[in-house]
Amino acid sequence: MPQNYVPIFLFVAVVAIAIPATLMIGKLVRPNNPEKAKLMPYECGIDPVDNARGRYTVRFYIVAILFVVFDVETIFLFPWAVQYRALGLFGLVEMLVFLAILIVGYVWIWKKGALEWV
């Protein structure tokens, strides 16, 4: 029933109005006296050196790529799971084949060391 989605948008609207409103009202009552030391990046009292947006380890990219692969597989499993009974034996076999290919890929990335962090 499409109208059932309306309350979700109403909810988002209510929340999205209420939160900035809180920030605005807060602006009227809170103090505002910034000074140099307050406005420095917080590094435990040491003056910051170098740009904060430097290079970081490539492992985060690997995790991102693996996430895309496996999350898409998960998305494929969802509609299959919901229609599981309707699809019958064909659906089961087909998804076992799908999972077998997925598991081959999983074993492969594991053995290749993509899952090692250090």
Binding site: M1, L10, V29, P34, W110, W117
Partner: protein, 346 residues
């Protein structure tokens, strides 16, 4: 559901439900913080908050007021728009996911059947997963826009952790979906009614999935033992290091709101939602499910705090290995076994 309601009434009832749900949710969030401080205090042989009001019950209100009146610094080196957007996004998403959670059965007011849920959509689970997985944007944007090393590192860790555990989390739900055959959370609960042996965790044999879900959900909400993004000893406060006043409070609230969502979802998916013994007059019959549901949510919140008081923090490589090398294969095995068992039974 709204077949016998006019459009005006439908919108009005929805707005009323929203206006009831949001303050209750915020109240739960506030008092979860109180409960956490109190319980962790007792676990650590301290008193916890005890000065403001009886048993420190007014502490959350005092904290809220304090944060409200604090100076809100926007440092000059940040990306202004994203720096502002991140906490708003985080809190909006965290609160919104409650919109599709059913807290009880149906109530009949003047002949109109109204579900105890802001709205019942047939893809509720997908909506919740979508909204919660967007939460990673809030964290990533906060860390990047802050332009501070601690923030960036914290947000990178948080993003990597959240996406890693999202895979296991998604896979752990497939078993439940096979059993119930619907994405509607109401449908999933109604499938489990009629005694605890019908709950997915027992009758459905989803206890492994339940364990995977809990672990992954703890990691998704960045809670101990998976709280590396905010590891105080290493990263000050992680991605919200540069935030102060209400913006900090928003991150704080969104974390606890996410905990509540996880607790609700765990109850709905695995523990039979609002199912429980019903007795007494009709009003009590209508409200008892809500009570049973909140009892479960309270249990999960207590579990969160208990775990926090008990377990130490993982190392980062352990954290990633736990997700990719343990939870993921376990979840895939659970999917295969569940599908085979269901096929053999029918």
């Amino acid at each position: 559901m709204s077949g016998n309601l006019s459009v005006g009434w439908f919108v009005l009832i929805s707005v009323i439900k929203i206006l009831i749900a949001v303050p209750i949710l915020l109240g739960i969030v506030a008092y979860t913080v109180w409960l956490e401080r109190k319980l962790v205090g007792h676990i650590q042989n301290r008193w916890g908050p005890s000065r403001v009001g009886p048993f420190g019950l007014l502490q959350p209100i005092a904290d809220g007021l304090k944060l409200f009146f604090k100076e809100d610094l926007t440092p000059p080196y940040v990306h202004k728009a994203l720096y502002l957007l991140a906490p708003i996004l985080s809190l909006t998403l965290a609160l919104t996911s409650i919109a599709v959670i059913p807290v009880g059965g149906w109530v009949t007011i003047r002949g109109a059947r109204i579900p105890l849920q802001i709205t019942d959509v047939n893809v509720a689970l997908l909506i919740i997963l979508g909204i919660t997985s967007m939460g990673v944007y809030g964290v990533a944007l906060a860390g990047w826009s802050s332009n501070s090393k601690y923030s960036l590192l914290g947000s990178l860790r948080a993003s990597a952790q959240m996406v890693s555990y999202e895979v296991a989390l998604g896979l752990s739900l497939v078993g439940v979906l096979i059993l119930s055959g619907t994405f509607s959370l109401r449908g999933i609960v109604e499938h489990q009614l009629g005694g605890f042996w019908n709950w997915n965790i027992f009758g459905g044999g989803q206890i492994v999935a339940f364990f995977i879900y809990l672990c992954a959900a703890y990691a998704e909400t960045n809670r101990i033992p998976f709280d590396l993004p905010e590891a105080e000893t290493e990263l000050v406060a992680g991605y919200h290091t540069e935030y102060s006043s209400m913006k900090f409070a928003m991150f704080f609230m969104s974390e606890y709101a996410n905990m509540v969502t996880v607790a609700c979802l765990a109850s709905v998916l695995f523990l039979g939602g609002w199912s429980g013994p019903l007795f007494g007059p009709p009003v009590l019959q209508a409200l008892l499910p809500v009570f049973w549901f909140f009892l479960r949510v309270l249990f999960f919140l207590f579990l969160y705090i208990w775990v926090r008081g008990t377990l130490p923090r993982f190392r980062y490589d352990q954290l990633m290995a736990f997700s990719w090398k343990f939870l993921l294969p376990l979840a895939i095995a659970n999917v295969i076994i569940t599908s085979l068992v269901v096929a053999l039974r029918s």
